[in-house]
């Protein structure tokens, strides 16, 4: 097991390097840069831009150096000092801007994941055990609908419904009356009461997938002879199901941790923009549109790195949970 962890950690290094390269290249791709736009804006306003001033700005942001030097400066700063560079638009260090929002994104993703588990588990088990029942068909229908509807569409419908029937505009994490107060019980409750909608909207697709996967896996397991054996032994039906086949069918729940992060981050980005939540989504979009390159690049880098960590955690959990996978992986390592 320890060898497995070490091996996986080592694998992460080149992948992280590749992610950082991609993040950097993505922010370099657009023609021109923020400075050029900024200077054009200044000139348009009639302010004269001194040559020396441009040079000073270029010097400050390291824009006049070749690409690989810029990359090395950027990644070096991150690795050595945790310095992600400056945001052009906000004139503040990127690190100040992103951590709050990434924290919220991660919190939202974790909450969404837990909620989808809690919803998907009973429904999935029910639809497999009572296959072809009305409840099964209803769950299947809702599940497919949840998969096929873009989550920003769900968010828009939610906005419309809450406006139309409750007369309030939805959005935001912290209600206005709590905006300036410190964290206390009231504020926490307020945040929770505002978060349930985004959590459900972002989790819709993931929950649908979990229900389908659990149902399909459990159906396969329920037909196996060991279930008959357990029944023949005289175990009560619910114990038969929960003790053996459900345990076998539940592995995909654990592997969700790995892929749910990229999915949730993507869904969260879209939903947050519609519901104006202060998470990564809106700021990333803004940064990309205004070519605020260090801000955008750092977001992509950190989100990518978090996804990797999530995948690693889920693989390790899975190996711990499922002896078959553990054996296969240790054999592969020794081979």
């Amino acid at each position: 097991m320890r060898a497995l962890v070490i091996r996986r950690l080592l694998y992460m290094v080149p992948t992280l390097f590749a992610i950082s390269l991609v993040a950097f290249l993505v922010i370099q791709l657009p023609p021109g840069n923020y400075l050029a736009t900024y200077i054009a804006e200044l000139s348009a306003r009639g302010a004269s831009v001194e040559r020396a001033q441009i040079l000073a700005l270029e010097e400050r942001y390291g824009l006049n150096e070749p690409l690989h030097v810029q990359y090395l400066r950027w990644i070096g700063g991150i690795l050595l000092n945790g310095d992600f560079g400056m945001s052009f638009a906000y004139q503040r260090p990127v690190a100040d801007l992103i951590w709050d929002r990434i924290g919220l994104t991660v919190a939202l993703a974790l909450a969404t994941m837990l909620v989808s588990w809690v919803i998907a588990f009973p429904i999935g088990v029910y639809s497999a055990v009572r296959q072809h029942s009305v409840g099964d068909y209803a769950a299947t229908f809702v599940g497919f609908l949840g998969l096929a509807t873009p989550n920003f569409m769900l968010a828009l419908v939610f906005v419309w419904v809450s406006y139309r029937f409750f007369g309030e505009s939805a959005g935001g994490i912290v209600s206005p009356e709590f905006a300036d107060s410190a964290w206390n019980l009231g504020r926490v409750l307020d945040v929770v009461s505002n978060l349930w909608a985004p959590v459900l909207i972002i989790g819709a697709a993931g929950t649908a997938v979990l229900i389908r996967v659990l149902r399909a896996n459990l159906l396969d397991e329920l037909r196996k002879p060991y279930v008959t054996a357990a029944r023949a032994k005289g175990l009560p039906e619910w114990r038969v199901i929960l003790k053996y086949p459900v345990r076998m069918a539940i592995s995909p729940f654990i592997s969700t941790i790995g892929w749910i992060l990229p999915t949730l981050v993507g869904g969260e980005v879209m939903v947050s923009i519609v519901l104006s939540l202060d998470t990564t989504g809106p700021l990333l979009l803004e940064a990309l549109q205004s070519q605020d390159m260090y801000l955008a690049g750092s977001f992509i880098l950190v989100l990518g790195a978090l996804t990797l960590v999530g995948t690693l955690l889920s693989d390790l959990l899975l190996a711990w949970w499922d002896p078959r996978i553990r054996h296969a992986q240790t054999e592969e390592a020794s081979a």
Partner: protein
């Protein structure tokens, strides 16, 4: 990362759906038709026909494709035909029979009476029962060029008087007909899904095939690339790449750029499917037999291996199209994908982004319904094909 693809991966094997497997085998055996003599594609077709949901979905897809191909003809008017007097006009109900004085068969809609709210300056519409606008099929309307070449002015449905306006699904903020815009958007959204899948197909089959056939170090390298591509959160990366598409590019250039961006990330699932099939087929006895017969490598792949997994690839392709459509919608919705005046479902959704437009004109959300219907139909059809892909099971 797409949740849809995950279902398929998390399932243990391409085993038949337990819901249908029993019924299928029993059915095929019971029909007593010359199952032994039928070709593989015929067997697949027999099995596919049993999937009622998949068959119905195929009909929906056929309809959507028809709309996409002949969108100029299907739409009541042109998508850019605006009217300042009809901003956010609500949908008109289509009446079939007029019974107010006697019995008058024929489609018609009622006109609007519009007033301006003094405070908000928004237009408010009430149905004007006294005005009757007859609606007909194959009517003369705004001239258009079918596929940009054939000039015509016949529309499938529209007001019989070309100067009248009919808004069956309401109007957007410029008084343009939502129905026409959704119909035109079908062409762009569906074709970008197809084009994106075509590019991913080439990438996926070539790389997956190489990976699966040669194995060894090449396989490891390609697998690492796939794992890496999958570990990046898709939407931020898509956003980053499409933000890099220059604004001044023409509509067609943007279209192709977005297609390439979508498929750059979408090829991985296909590559995995192809590799998996190659790996399992490589060990099959008939491949060994062909090799012993002295067949060359190219012939083994083309004549012996490809026919055994084309049906699986077709299924994966069908299931990949909806993901592309969803991705395009998401990007265009954010304003990073296709740009107006190009009309796609995502571009249309972008107009429904603010609370004012949703509150005053909830019908601007209708393109989203089109997306949902298309994605559902493609998913069900893809599932049907996947379940019938291996008729010998």
């Amino acid at each position: 990362m797409n949740p849809l693809a995950r279902i398929r991966r998390d399932r243990p094997a391409p085993a038949p759906d337990p819901d249908t497997a029993g019924a299928d085998t029993a059915g095929t055996a019971g029909t007593g038709r010359t199952a032994a003599a039928a070709s593989q594609w015929r067997l697949i077709w027999w099995r596919f026909k049993r999937h009622r949901l998949a068959m119905a979905s195929s009909a929906v897809i056929g309809l959507l494709v028809f709309v996409a191909v002949f969108c100029e003809f299907v739409a009541p008017t042109t998508p850019g035909h605006y009217s300042a007097e009809h901003t956010h006009a609500p949908p008109q109900a289509l009446h079939v029979v007029d019974t107010r004085d006697g019995f008058d068969l024929g489609l018609y809609v009622h006109g609007y009476r519009s007033t301006r709210d003094e405070e908000t300056l928004a237009r408010e519409y009430t149905v004007d029962e006294s005005v009757k606008i007859p609606v007909g099929f194959f009517v003369e309307g705004r001239p258009y060029e079918l596929w940009g070449v054939i000039p015509a002015d016949t529309h499938l449905i529209g007001p019989t008087d070309p100067d009248q306006r009919v808004y069956l699904l309401g109007a957007d903020r410029n008084g343009r007909d939502m129905l026409s815009r959704i119909v035109y958007g079908t062409r762009v959204s569906l074709s970008i899904g197809l084009a994106g899948v075509a590019v991913s197909f080439v990438l996926g089959v070539v790389l997956g095939g190489i990976s699966g056939y040669f194995g060894g170090r090449i396989d490891t390298a390609i697998q690492r690339v796939i794992e890496f591509t999958m570990s990046i959160p898709t939407i931020p990366l898509w956003m980053g790449l499409s933000a890099a598409v220059p604004r001044e590019w023409s509509a067609l250039q943007t279209y192709f750029a977005i297609t390439v961006i979508l498929s750059l990330i979408g090829w991985t699932d296909l590559a995995r499917v192809v590799r998996g099939r190659f790996l399992s087929l490589r060990e099959e006895d008939f491949v060994l037999a062909a090799r012993l017969d002295g067949c060359g490598r190219a012939r083994i792949i083309r004549r012996h291996m490809l026919p055994s997994f084309t049906s699986h690839i077709v299924a994966s392709l069908t299931l990949a199209i909806p993901l592309m459509i969803l991705a395009e919608t998401a990007l265009s919705f954010l304003g990073l994908g296709l740009q107006p005046p190009v009309v796609s479902w995502g571009v249309l959704m972008q107009e429904a982004q603010n609370i004012h437009s949703i509150a005053n004109a909830p019908w601007t959300l209708l393109p989203g319904v089109a997306v949902t219907v298309a994605v559902l139909a493609l998913n069900f059809a893809g599932d049907g094909i996947r379940d019938s892909a291996d008729p010998y099971q």
